[in-house]
């Protein structure tokens, strides 16, 4: 057993001399002297002696050899020797038994029981037993070794309790008062002390503690665990200084080789965090070599995502393919699917993800993204029935408005306007403000000669979509093919699915590529989510904010609830936005901002399905928080118009038209005409 060599040295090495923020808790010394028991290891024999001189009257003539024989039976030679020296000091002329294991001595069973309680870690019962024995026999004096052993055991318990409760000053002060706790045979105490120093920003002392273990302790697994613990708490430069204390293991290999790989792995993973630093060339090379040697699927996937992040999609695909071959799991399929998407190989992405689309929500939406991208490919390719069938299944199961409208455009491209109109209608039912679906329905209805639907759509979307409200004004009314650029600009989900392929995603360059939210820390997920919002990819942002909501920090949770609610607003999902906003406390300003956004959404959604009363209700509520913009005033006026409340419509249209708002002028004309018909 390696002990700290000299207490003074330890104090200097660990900087314990100036600790003591809290009064060390000291167990009572039952010898009756009234002085607190000295910390066990700090109890030199000369300090003990006077205490026993004072007690000489109560000392029996013969020494009590119970403890001596107890230590002998336990094989504790260090304690045995110390007890022999102690008894020699007390009883000049006394000689220790030739055979401490012999049966010629009848020990006091009560004391043996107390040592057994101590040995079982039942310090409270041992304390009680000592007091009970003293009550029964006032001449009984427990040996200093017993008291010191108990005090040390209790101090160890206190150190662990304090460490578990995050009371690091106590950890440091208990350790300072009981240096005997800091031994290789109780390496856990040393780990806890090192952590306490880290938590109290005394880094040098923490490093001293780790160095002490690595310089003195020999147990291989404990040395290894020491480095693992240090790796969780220290930065790389400090860890490298500890690495210098590495020794060869039993087979002559460097004992920390796996730690080096783990550190390299951590460095690669850290690069995937938002604003994460790139790994060093050495770390990257080490990890790549390790992956090549071992082909562990987790590592293959990590390196795959790293390569995706570094815009090396072909290498990423190679790694994910290998991972998928060795471990055909959802995680492997997800990485491979993302790589295919990045490479714009949508057919491969769709077919890879198809079997895993029900494994999780994230995989479900990834599959729908791949499907939408596949359907939207230009020139259009004919998909076989099996593929189309499973896309349709997924759309219906997950009620994906975006992929539904892509199915609409797909049908339209193959001259099936009736089928197209049905898909667009379904998409609008799921997401009433999905403009590309409304535009699709307009074009398809026009192709079908359904003038009533065309007119209704133009009225509903006036003020919200220029291409709908001006449809048919310039060119002849012949249906034209949809303009992909216009669609991708207003279709967040599509731009998310095609990643680097669409113009709009270039603004989100810093968060391109799919990273599973669960692989990020809540805070990293949070900043990635905002990045997604910046790139107009709210569906991805929702999942990332959901991860951020798992943060222990209330501030992060609050920010995440706010962000997720905004993302739902962006997706046109008012109810989900309300639920998200309630997930964490928000500041008053943010709560109001969200209420305004959600009510705006409710108003436009209600209007677009013809529920004008609810549109007005939402606008009334909204008006409590914020003034009404011209477009919403116009929406209000059109609502009055549809409810035949022409006077109110006229009043608002007049006021808004006076500001030059073109859409209001059209409404004003329509209202005046209606009033004339009435009168």
């Amino acid at each position: 057993m390696a002990r700290l060599p000299v207490i003074v040295l330890l104090g200097a090495a660990l900087g314990l001399g100036y600790v003591g923020l809290s009064q060390p808790w000291v167990f009572r010394n039952l010898s009756g002297s009234g002085t607190p028991a000295a910390p066990a290891a700090a109890m030199p024999t000369e300090a003990v002696a006077p205490l026993f001189v004072a007690q000489a009257v109560a000392q029996p003539a013969r020494p009590d050899e119970t403890a001596l024989r107890y230590f002998a039976r336990q094989g504790d030679t260090v304690r045995l020797q110390r007890e022999i020296e102690r008894l020699r000091g007390l009883y000049p002329g006394w000689e220790p038994p030739a055979d401490p294991l012999a049966d010629d001595y009848a020990p006091d069973q009560g004391i043996i029981d107390i040592w057994d309680l101590y040995g079982a870690g039942d310090y409270a019962a041992a304390r009680a037993a000592i007091a009970a024995k003293q009550a029964a026999d006032p001449s009984f004096v427990p040996s200093p070794d017993l008291l010191a052993s108990l005090a040390l055991g209790e101090a160890g318990l206190q150190l662990r309790s304090a460490s578990d409760a995050g009371q690091y000053d106590t950890v440091i002060s208990v350790a300072a008062n009981h240096p005997d706790l800091l031994v290789c045979t109780s390496v856990d105490n040393l780990w806890r002390l090192a952590e306490a120093f880290v938590r109290r920003d005394r880094l040098e002392r923490a490093l001293d503690s780790y160095r002490y273990i690595l310089a003195n302790c020999t147990d291989g697994p404990e040395r290894y665990a020491t480095m693992q613990k240090a790796a969780d708490l220290l930065d790389r430069a400090d860890l490298d200084s500890l690495m210098a204390l590495e020794r060869p293991d039993a087979d002559g290999r460097p004992e920390f080789a796996p730690i080096r790989i783990d550190l390299a792995r951590r460095a690669v993973a850290a690069a995937l965090e938002e604003d994460g630093a790139a790994p060093s060339a050495a770390d990257l090379a080490l990890f790549e070599q390790h992956v090549a040697d071992t082909n562990a699927p987790d590592d293959l996937r990590l390196l795959g995502y790293y390569n995706l992040d570094a815009n090396r999609a072909n290498e990423a695909r190679r790694l994910f393919l290998k991972a998928f071959e060795l471990d055909p799991s959802a995680a492997s399929a997800e990485g491979l699917g993302v790589a295919y998407l990045r490479l714009r190989d949508f057919a491969a992405a769709e077919s890879t993800l198809a079997d895993y689309r029900d494994d999780s929500d994230a995989l479900g939406s990834l599959y729908l993204d791949a499907s939408a991208a596949l359907l939207a490919g230009e020139p259009r390719v004919t998909l076989d029935g099996g593929v189309l069938g499973r896309i349709v299944d997924a759309v219906m199961v997950r009620r994906s408005a975006n992929t539904a409208q892509e199915l609409g455009w797909y049908a339209y491209a193959f001259q099936q306007p009736q089928t197209a109109a049905e898909w667009f209608t379904l998409a609008l039912r799921w997401q009433p403000d999905l403009e590309p679906a409304a535009y699709g329905l307009l074009v398809a209805s026009d192709a079908l000669g359904d003038a009533a639907t065309v007119t209704a759509l133009k009225v509903q979307w006036s003020g919200r979509s220029a291409r709908i409200s001006t449809f048919g004004q310039n060119s002849a009314s012949s249906p034209i093919a949809p303009v992909p650029a216009a669609r991708s600009a207003t279709s967040p989900q599509r731009s998310a699915s095609s990643g680097s392929s669409s113009a709009s995603s270039s603004s989100a360059a810093s968060c391109t590529g799919f990273v599973p939210p669960a692989s990020l820390s809540p805070e990293a997920a949070q900043s990635r989510a905002w990045c997604m919002m910046g790139g107009n990819r709210p569906a991805q942002a929702v999942d990332l904010f959901a991860r951020a909501l798992q943060s222990p920090s209330q501030k992060t949770r609050s920010d995440a609830a706010y962000g997720q609610a905004l993302a739902y607003v962006r997706m046109g999902l008012a109810s989900e936005a309300s639920v998200a906003a309630a997930a964490a406390p928000l500041s008053r300003e943010k709560a109001i901002e969200l209420d305004v956004a959600i009510l705006t959404l409710r108003a436009t959604s209600a209007y677009s399905v013809g529920d004008y009363m609810r549109a007005l209700d939402a606008l009334e509520l909204r008006a409590r928080y914020a003034p009404e913009r011209n477009d919403l005033l116009t929406l209000r006026a059109w609502s009055y118009y549809h409810l035949r409340r022409y006077r109110e419509a006229l009043q608002i249209f007049s006021a808004v038209a006076a500001t030059g708002h073109g859409d209001a002028a059209a409404g004003l004309a329509a209202t005046e005409q209606a009033l004339q018909i009435l009168h």
């Binding site: 923020l21 809290s22 009064q23 808790w25 000291v26 167990f27 009572r28 010394n29 039952l30 009756g32 009234g34 002085t35 607190p36 028991a37 039942d122 310090y123 409270a124 019962a125 041992a126 304390r127 009680a128 037993a129 000592i130 007091a131 009970a132 003293q134 009550a135 029964a136 209790e154 101090a155 318990l157 206190q158 309790s161 304090a162 578990d164 409760a165 995050g166 009371q167 690091y168 000053d169 106590t170």
Partner: protein
């Protein structure tokens, strides 16, 4: 219960010597220990999932002194010192849950628990002539004195915990049952000048303010404002299991029985009760024998009514009721034997 069974449960407990300085009957104390103290020195709150807390450990220490049972004191103190007294400020973490890892599930302190632990240690130091106990108590008393006696509407008051009680509008949130009146003289001795000297007066001032409210007694959690008292925001406006200790503490400290009057008025015989302090209405009876004894003792102190015989022996119904009953019996048997005239 059979005594030998209880002895087996408590391991090393020895029969008390005949000359033990205690008002407890042997069966009573053994029954308490057998029901509520584990072999490793943990005092169980049996009504709360057998958790322990600084309060239960503090009561356990104090009762061990009152029982003159030093082995039990050692047992409870060993656990308390090594498992709860771990906070950086030297106070005890208040909550220890055996079903949880780590077992300390809330590292905040509960000031009454710390006070009971320190008081138990000081009483032990005096009874068994052991200065080491006093040496352990002193830093606890000083930490409370220097960090948790705070200003509240012009009074120096006991903050219930180090974290979380000073954030509300309208002053710190207080708990009137944390004025354990008997501890203040002892605390002022070991920590003069921190403000312990005035705490009896503060505690009585709080009761005077409460006397002017509809119920005449304070809610368990209160704020002092504008010379008055009101239920603390965010808490039920209710007098309940906390506050029922106030009359017990008043009687144990030998304070003016007139302060008991509103408490007795709010205790519909034979029980104590939860009281809505806004209306003064009874909301729920509090009726274990330990609680009924507090009512009976008030009735004796104010009206000379003898304590019913069935309440004159501890019934181990729950940890809390049994604890309060032993504290009340200790007082009656030592100070008010006249109330126990019907005793068998």
């Amino acid at each position: 219960m059979k005594p030998f069974l209880l002895l087996a449960m408590v391991g090393f407990a020895m029969p008390q010597p005949a000359f033990a300085d205690t008002a407890f009957r042997q069966g009573e104390w053994q029954s308490y220990v057998g029901n509520f103290v584990t072999g490793d020195g943990r005092v169980l709150d049996t009504a709360n999932g057998d958790i322990s807390h600084s309060e239960s450990q503090g009561y356990g220490l104090l009762l061990s002194v009152l029982a003159d049972d030093r082995p039990m004191f050692e047992r409870i103190w060993s656990f308390t010192g090594s498992s709860l007294l771990v906070r950086d400020d030297g106070l005890a973490a208040w909550r220890w849950d055996p079903a949880s890892v780590p077992a300390i599930t809330d590292a905040n302190n509960a000031t009454d628990g710390d006070m009971l632990i320190a008081y138990g240690l000081l009483r032990a130091a005096a009874l068994w002539d052991e200065p080491a106990y006093a040496a352990a108590a002193t830093p606890i008393v000083k930490t409370i004195g220097q960090t948790l006696l705070v200003q509240a509407d012009g009074l120096r008051a006991i903050l219930p915990g180090a974290e979380g009680f000073t954030d509300a509008q309208g002053g710190p949130i207080l708990n009137p049952s944390y004025w354990i009146f008997e501890v203040f003289p002892a605390f002022a001795d070991v920590d003069p000048g921190s403000g312990w000297e005035g705490q009896t007066r503060t505690g009585l001032d709080i009761l005077r303010r409460a006397a002017l409210t509809p119920a005449g007694i304070p809610a368990d959690w209160v704020q002092l404002t504008d010379g008055a008292i009101r239920p603390a925001p965010g808490f039920e406006p209710e007098f309940g299991y906390n506050g029922i200790r106030i009359p017990l503490y008043l009687m144990r400290a030998g304070l003016d029985p007139a302060f008991l009057r509103p408490f007795l008025k709010n205790a519909p015989a034979p029980d104590l009760a939860k009281i809505d302090v806004m209306s003064g209405n009874t909301t729920e009876p509090i009726g274990e024998p330990g609680y009924r004894l507090i009512r009976a003792a008030m009735d004796c102190a104010l009206n000379g009514t003898p304590v019913p015989v069935e309440l004159q022996t501890m019934t181990p119904s729950s940890y809390y009721a049994a604890t309060l009953q032993l504290l009340m019996l200790d007082h009656l048997r030592r100070q008010r034997t006249d109330c126990l005239s019907g005793e068998v």
